[in-house]
Structures are given as structure tokens and as C-alpha cells.
Symmetry: C2
Subunit: 366 residues, 2 copies
């Protein structure tokens, strides 16, 4: 796939840059939910409301465009044309530290308590994966080759960050559109290394463990089989399946699974990467066409860094019962107080209908 | 408090109205999170983005203003001037069924399965509490008397709805501002009776039970004591305390607790109602002044309808370890994909600072 490219890795510079930033955030655990909050060090300003009409950063001002490499922190990794130099032109995907990183790579966690409360220092990594030098590209219009490069970079960052023993979870995600939290329009994804396992993933693992204990089967494999029978499939190829989950919280929520059981994203081989790239391309194209280019989030759920038995009530390794997947969540409207405050969603579109709509679009536009 | 008012209760009409609507929604349970989603029956339309500049329903068109009582479903309960007639003028707080109810009062739950998936019919209640006849009133500017009337109505609706054996949880909540999900600007709260216990409350109960098992103390009582010591208190009177929680997920998140242990909101007496009204008035005033009238959600977390032992691992009744409270969540910005997809929040303001800012404001504006 990368016969015309060569991977150049900049080492040693990342730590330096982050040291200069001098930021140290704190993590606090909510004793009622066991969820963590990151408190970045720095000045708080009341955010402006995000409005679709709000002027966005133009290509001229954009620090992520080709030719502006010197305006960003030094790159960590890039897919580059042979002969091109790090932090210069000639790249197609480029990973840099976030200049406003909420976690930093240096230091120890310093776990501590305040009475019943738990806190630790904000050690981790916060990287931006710039997906293309083109300011105006759309994820939903990427070529198969471009999509392959991006998922390849996801795997590369995950494998690299997992080498650090302090990290419990590597979160790959992507925000598209203002309402989904993307304030810079230049196409990019995030790789965030965390010293804790996020709440939703921990919860999924707990449920999957309970299910395994009862049935000795993977919960997600069962879901895939049922969703296939019930016409909730959006698109499927030899290795991956995109489906509208049975109890999806929002219209057109779509999950992408490896069809065969696989617990860790980083185990994906090159052939599977290509297959995943196709499913991602088809799914995001269908969503963009159906919903007129909606804001959305793309979130990778995979096994924690160490295949820990911490949440395992079944005495089985997580690898047997957890099944990695990508969740794509269109952000068509805000959650209201009822949904935000209860975790109970109101979804006006049944997933069977959502899947049918997206299949229709794919029949038309391919 | 209501010496000049008399409570008129319309009976028998609610069921009739809901029958005419002919809506039957379905609840589906996510097997991975055990969270439920309500699928209302009806046509789906892609929602418009909510933008602060969007034109809102004017007082002329508003169905909730005084004189428009005939345009809403018949009222369930109202606080009225003596001699005034139901569904006419002369009310100060008025509860009606939501014309777009996502749950309906009639029928059986019909719990059923589809393979590993669980679903049931959408039986419940979905009521609007119109807080004032005045279209342009602000929650943050209510008089003490008005706030008392509103919390009195919260208790009244909760006590009434709890008589129905099918309901597991009564959710009282309030959305203010477009970004918090309030599409109709006329001041109103919601009372929603659910056949399931919402995910967040279930989770809080599970954690409080674990804590009780270890310590034989209420987790929330411990939190209150620590937050008082650490200067996270926003306002406190004889019965209630408003504080910025230790691990608040968003800037200026504020929780209101009865200072003495109490597990069910509906047990609140008239004297306590008055004390709660004061804390609500002060807190919302401080938030409005500090944040220039921000969008926010107000969510009541209380014990489930039946003090069930379902989640109790400590063989103690929930009453001993669960502590009801109100969460006020300013919605200053959208959750980004990282937060939405992980349940891990990034909050640029420490709660100690948030509490200090709000105390300063209260010192100035009272």
C-alpha cells in the first residue's frame, strides 16, 4: 500500500516540545460514577456557542495545511513521499502533538486521595492525526487509498503508544463538524493515551464478561448474528460489517465490527486494514449523502492496554469476550436534559429504518 | 404558602387525551450498557441545527401562555386563584400532558425478547409543568414564592405518579435554552414517569451500595462533608447545600443536596420545600449572572419508585445509602467525540474556582 511512500519517524522531539508547554493537568474520579474528569492547567474562558454560521478557520490561517509544518509542534510520525524531510512538505498523513494537549507524556501518575476522593496527575499523550494536506477534503469523500492510510496511522499510533507501560487505554476518535466538537475544519483525528480506562469501555467489558459467564459466547458476536438476521446491516464485506445497533441512542448511529471475533484493534493485519477502509468509506459516504454532511463522532472501542483481569468476573481473559468496534454517532441535535441527565435516550428512528435508508443510498451512489 | 390559591385537579381527562393521540412507543435495552432507548412511534424528520440566532416561538404563537389554555391538552393539575376554572385563566403553575408524549399512560409493558435483546412497550407519563403564565420569565429571576410553587408542583407530580405501580422512576427535569434541548422558550419543567430506572441513577445506587458495604455510611453524606471543608460550597441554608462537585464534568456544574440524609425527594416537607426554593433561587441566579444566562439542564436524582433491593449488594434498604439531589449542568459547549464516546470529560475549570466565582456573585447580587 505504501510502496511510493516511506515512513519517517521523528524521535526525541516529542518530549522536548511537551516539556516546553509546561502544562500539568489533574485527573479526578467521580466517586458516584467512577468516571474520570481531566482538569487541564490553564486559564478558563467561557466558550462561545458553536453555531453553523460561525466563521471557521480558513485555509490561509490553518496551521495544518501543507507548507505550514513549521507552525505546529514537530511531527511524531508521517506518511511521506520518498526523500521528503520531516516537518516539511511532501506528506499525506501527519501526526503531531496537540498544542493544547490536555495530558502530557512526562512524569509519574502520583495517584493520591483526598478523603474518599481519588486523583492523579494528567500523564498521557494527546496527538492530532492530520489526515490530508488538503484543507477542504471531506472524510466521506476520501479515496479507498486515503482511508487505508488513515486507518494504518491509527494502528501505528496505537501500537507505538501501547509501548508505554503507564497508559491503560489508547483512545482513537474523530470529530467532524462544529456541533461534534471539531473547532478546526482541517480534517484530523485524535489519538489520546490515557492513564485510566474510559467509563463506557469499562462498562462494555463488564457486561461482556457477565454474558460470557452465562453463555460462554462473545456478546458482540451474538449481536452481529442477530442484527444480520433482522436487516440492521448497513454494509458488509469479507472482513467487516457496519450495522445500526438494536438499541441505538440516536438516528443513524452505526457500529463497525470485524465480522470474526477480534478483541484488539492493533492486531488488525494489512489485509483487514484494507477491508476496514472500505467499510469506513462506504458508511461515511452513505451518512454524508443521507444527512447532508452531518456533524458526527467516530470512536474506537477496543481492549484496554493491558489485558487486565481487573473487571473479569468470569476468570477468562478479556480477549475471549471483548470485541473491538468503531462507533459512528451522528450529532443531529443536542441531547436534552432528560437524556443527558438519565442516560436514557429518545430516538425517533428505528435502527431497521436507518439501516434501510443507508443501504438505499449505497445502492444509488455506490 | 398557598392560602390564596386552591389546587384544582382534573381527573379522568388525562387518559382520554392520551388515548386520542394513539401513540405507542417502544423501549429497547442496549445489551452492552443496559441503557434503554425510547423509540417514539411517528414520522422522523432530520432536526434543524439549534443555533442561538434561530427565531424562537413568540408569545403570540405560544401555546403555554395565559389565555391559550384551550390549545393544550387538558390540564392534570394547576395552582389556581380561588374560583378560577380548570383550563381557563387564573393559574400560576399548570401541569399538562406533553402533546408529543414519548410515553403513554395506558397499557401493559409487554416485556419481551428478540434473541438476546430486551424490549417493552412505551408505558409511562410525559408531562409539562408550565411554571408561569408569563412567556418571558426567567427561572433565574423567579421570586422565592414562585420557586416554592414550582418545587411544590414537582413534589405533587411525583407523589401522584408514584401511585401507579407500573412506574419504576419519576424523572423531574428542566431544560433551559436551545442548546440544552428547550425548543419552546416559555418556562417549563418536565415530569416523566418511566417503566425503567435510568442508567445514571442505577449506577449511582450501585456505587452508593458498594460504599455502604465498605463503610456503613452514605457516600453522599461523606461527599458533602468533604466539599464543605474544601471550599466547594456555592450556597447553604438551614436545610440544603449547593456545591461544585469534586470531579464535576463541566464548568459550573452544581449539585444541590438536602444537608441531612434523605433518600426520596417526595418525602420533603413544606418547610424543606421553602428552603430548597431558596437554594435553587440563589444558585440559578448566580449561574445566570456569572455566565450571562447560559443554557443548562436541571435534573432530579432520587430513589426509584419501589425501594427495590434489585441493585443492593449490601442487604440494606436503598433509603439508608442513597441521597437524593438535583444536578444543574450548564451546557456551555457541546461534548466532543472524545467525551461523548468515552464518558471521560475535559473540564477547564476546577470546582473550587467555580464555587468561589459563584459565591462572589452572590455576595454582590444577593
Amino acid at each position: 500500500m505504501f510502496s511510493a511512500s516511506v515512513l519517517i519517524k521523528v524521535t526525541g522531539q516529542r518530549q522536548l516540545w511537551v516539556k516546553e508547554l509546561g502544562i500539568m493537568s489533574t485527573l479526578r474520579r467521580n466517586p458516584v460514577t467512577y468516571g474520570w474528569t481531566i482538569y487541564p492547567d490553564g486559564e478558563f474562558q467561557i466558550p462561545r456557542p458553536a453555531c453553523p454560521e460561525e466563521p471557521q478557520i480558513s485555509a490561509e490561517e490553518c496551521p495544518f495545511c501543507e507548507g505550514k509544518e513549521h507552525t505546529t509542534p514537530p511531527e511524531i510520525t508521517a506518511i511521506r513521499r520518498q526523500g521528503s524531510m520531516p516537518n516539511g512538505r511532501g506528506w499525506s498523513v501527519r501526526t503531531i502533538p496537540d498544542i493544547n494537549a490536555v495530558l502530557r507524556i512526562e512524569g509519574a501518575l502520583k495517584r493520591r486521595g483526598e478523603g474518599i476522593y481519588d486523583l492523579m496527575d494528567g500523564v498521557g499523550a494527546h496527538e492530532l492525526i492530520i489526515e490530508t494536506p488538503e484543507h477542504h477534503s471531506l472524510f466521506s469523500e476520501y479515496s479507498h487509498q486515503k482511508m487505508h492510510e488513515i486507518v494504518w496511522m491509527y494502528r501505528e499510533r496505537m501500537r507505538d503508544l501501547l509501548k508505554d507501560e503507564r497508559f491503560r487505554y489508547i483512545q482513537i476518535c474523530r470529530n467532524y463538524g462544529l456541533r461534534a466538537g471539531a473547532r478546526i475544519p482541517h480534517p484530523h483525528s485524535l489519538a489520546i493515551a490515557l492513564p485510566v480506562v474510559p467509563r463506557w469501555v469499562r462498562e462494555e467489558i463488564a457486561r461482556a464478561a457477565e454474558f460470557w459467564k452465562m453463555k460462554e459466547r462473545c456478546l458482540f458476536c451474538d449481536m452481529i448474528a442477530l442484527d444480520r438476521k433482522a436487516n440492521r446491516v448497513v454494509f458488509e464485506n469479507s472482513q467487516f460489517i457496519a450495522l445500526a445497533p438494536f438499541a441505538s441512542g440516536v438516528p443513524y448511529e452505526t457500529w463497525i465490527f470485524p465480522s470474526m471475533h477480534q478483541s484488539q484493534f492493533q492486531d488488525i493485519d494489512d489485509y483487514e486494514l484494507d477491508s476496514l477502509a472500505e467499510v469506513l468509506q462506504k458508511t461515511t459516504k452513505a451518512l454524508a449523502n443521507k444527512l447532508n454532511n452531518p456533524p458526527y463522532n467516530l470512536i474506537l472501542h477496543t481492549s484496554p492496554a493491558k489485558m487486565s483481569h481487573q473487571w473479569d468476573s468470569s476468570e477468562k481473559p478479556i480477549a475471549e469476550y471483548y470485541h473491538w468496534h468503531i462507533e459512528i454517532i451522528p450529532r443531529l441535535r443536542e441531547l436534552n436534559g432528560f437524556e443527558y441527565g438519565t442516560g436514557l435516550y429518545v430516538n425517533p428512528l428505528l435502527p431497521e429504518a436507518a439501516a434501510a435508508h443507508l443501504r438505499e443510498i449505497l445502492d444509488k451512489v455506490g
